[in-house]
Homo-oligomer: 437 residues x 2
């Protein structure tokens, strides 16, 4: 039977991967016309995916005329005409729109955002048409500066703040700043948000992975591999929920300050959603050696369709940064920048965060209540439940992670296997699942 | 006297460069406290800049407490306190906002744009909060697809169109696509829009420069240096105004198609502003070997504060592209993307372009009329006047370019020296100035 290597960590849905591979095989002739394709059930079990995944892939291929369904017989490859294989502009390769979390959409204060944007459109025409400097609109950087002071106890002047178009854009800048011409080695957290390493790797950056322990990354391992840049999320590590301890923070700062070629990128992307407990000071705010670059994004805290991120550069970095990247235009439209400035200044961002926190707290208590009802959660250990948008459950069970996932899914829980966030999992079971609120 | 190397091609104003250098010298101790700084006039003549430039730099330094002005004595360095040198968040390093062309701002149909954006805000909430695929909002890609067909005779399906946040963002993508892991050599045009080469160089891309002849880039030179990627603007080269001839286009396509590792980036950034004459087909539209990547931007044709660009990928490229860059989020907010889609579909983009063209035509005829009045333009040769937003004037004169510039400026003309757009100018005079309309 056809066997494909699927990338379960990819941002591309599995069905799109299968769909793409079948199409490629048809185009290359590996699947001949009129060949029978595997049944949905067999194919699913062979690839280790759900039947629905195969069904989605087949349906897309049928819709585009690549395969046909014959009742009671199965699925067959169509004969490829020039129309389909060739340079036809009608040929559709559709990636389905990624549907975001409904809660996020329901909670986004769209009416207020729309009102502020309308106000900007009515009252700020001349500024909206004035091209900002590469750092972004000053008013927004001022609003962020105030916000950081008030809510994160970070002292950063607007001059130190650079606006970007989402986190990925900031990662690109980090590449130019540190990798090009310097060949600095980066290190990210393992397990971790795989996109960061993927993006760095795509730039050709040498990127190592450092295990995350109970109190932050493993500093022995850090010293062993000796990278130049560590990209970490000390206030809330994804997916483990680990919060880097204060002493570990100092130890990381010590590491960074003992060489000119070492820096720390503090990715604070969901620090706003800490649900309880005392917030720990950011690394940036305790750094006196200008070693920490702080970054955060509104795409996570506000709405994924508003692509605005920012970073705070150490004072002594500004000249260097301007020299290397001062030629860039700010990639975010002024319309959005002014609207966001107004949104923050008007106190709406704070209100939104509070609302989101209350919402996630409610979800969390509902989730915990529901968990209590089922035996499978007996004696399981919950961690990372105070910060961010999910918790981690380690089960007392000999079941494989896949089986655990299947069982809790059958009980109506939404969960993910933590092992998917490890770069290298040697078939290991962690008996641990992630439960988003 | 203090002498600084200034970068006249830099996007950073000269006064900011001087201000920065003086500050650095003070911080490093090269300028001691209470040292007298050169007089504005002497300093200006020494650096080859205007007195106003020095004045601006000095005023900024005074405002920030770095230097003091003593009446009838001159300017003196202040003693640097920890407040100024250290990590003071109040310390301002201000880059002045870049003020855009007034004409552009006046002509941008702000009222219509605002109306369409309001309509989107009122009617399209659920889509505005739906995260698009990495390629961008489908409706916008569809609108661009229709636009390209109608106005550029380019057949490209929406699936082939990728939305970016300004041209520079697309250049970044080109880097990931072609340079990382492949080490492809790029080549750009000489003279040319210096930012392109600068950006590529910042990524560590090996970037050559190919002389532009009367009919496009020098193909003999191209074959000699043998790059992988050529980044060119065949419909209107900046700053010479050269339009690549049809036969040269075929010869470039032949070059590209004779090796798997050769591609052409067709940067069509101001093709909309062709003022007269028959438009020449795009390279993309005559390419049958999938060798041309077409790119364009609305930041140039619409408003510099709307950061939306796009590129058209050859069909056979889509899989490869998705594999390498499919993990990226589209960097442009959905609010802007839907508004632009509506703007194009409603015919407003076409109307805007027509209005701009009429405006630039009028400016051109006024400029030519004014030129006729002055002897210095006698027997001069005008070129590149039909496409784009400026023309080139080659003078019959033995004057140095700087003197020419001074003379026409004194007559009230706005002009630039073409030699500023050459990467290497060995003190050569071109007797040629660029006149924007």
């Amino acid at each position: 039977m056809i066997t494909y290597e699927l990338d379960k960590k990819s941002s591309e849905p599995l069905y799109v991967q299968i769909y793409t591979k079948i199409k490629e095989d048809m185009e290359s002739g590996a699947i001949r016309s009129d060949e029978k394709l595997p049944s949905k059930r067999n194919f699913a079990s062979n690839l280790g995916v759900s039947v629905i995944t195969i069904e989605n892939a087949y349906n897309q291929l049928i819709a585009e005329g690549y395969i046909r369904s014959v009742p009671h017989k199965g699925y067959f490859a169509e004969k490829l005409s020039a129309n389909i294989v060739g340079k036809s502009p009608e040929k559709k390769i559709s990636t389905p729109a990624v549907i975001e979390n409904d809660a996020e959409n329901r909670l986004f204060p769209f009416t207020i955002w729309a009102k502020l944007m309308r106000e900007e459109l009515s009252s700020n025409q001349s500024n909206l048409l004035k091209k900002p400097t590469f750092e972004g609109v000053y008013e927004l950087r001022e609003a962020i500066s105030h916000h950081l002071k008030q809510f994160r106890n970070i002292t950063a002047s607007p001059e130190q703040i650079i606006i970007g178009a989402g986190s990925e854009y900031l990662y690109m800048l980090m590449n130019i700043l540190f990798s090009v011409g310097r060949n600095y080695t980066f290190a990210v957290e393992e397990p971790g948000y795989s996109k960061i390493a993927e993006i760095y790797a795509n730039y050709g950056i040498k990127c190592e992975r450092i295990p995350v322990l109970d109190d932050g990354i493993d500093t022995d391992y850090l010293k062993k591999i000796d990278p130049n840049i560590i990209h970490i999320s000390p206030s809330h590590h994804f997916p483990t929920g680990v919060i880097t301890s204060v002493s570990k923070r100092y130890s990381l700062l010590e590491w960074a300050s003992s060489s000119e070629d070492r820096f720390i990128i503090e990715d604070d992307y969901d620090s706003e959603f800490r649900l309880s407990g005392k917030p720990i000071p950011s690394m940036y705010s305790i750094d006196v050696m200008d070693k920490v670059i702080y970054m955060n994004t509104f795409s996570k805290s506000l709405a994924s369709t508003i692509r605005i991120s920012y970073m705070v550069l150490p004072q002594t970095f500004l000249h260097k940064y301007r020299e290397k990247l001062g030629f860039c235009s700010c990639p975010v439209s002024t319309f959005e920048q002014y609207t966001l400035a107004r949104f923050i200044d008007g106190g709406y961002f704070e209100k939104h965060i509070n609302r989101m926190r209350a919402h996630y707290k409610k979800c969390r208590s509902e989730l915990f209540g529901k968990m209590k009802k089922f035996d499978i959660f007996k004696n399981s250990v919950i961690s990372g439940e105070n910060s961010g948008l999910h918790c981690i459950v380690e089960f007392q069970s000999d079941l494989h992670d896949e089986e655990l996932l299947e069982q809790v899914s059958a009980l109506g829980f939404k969960a993910m296997m933590i092992k998917n966030f490890y770069h290298e999992t040697v078939g290991q079971d962690y008996h641990t699942l992630i439960f988003p609120y």
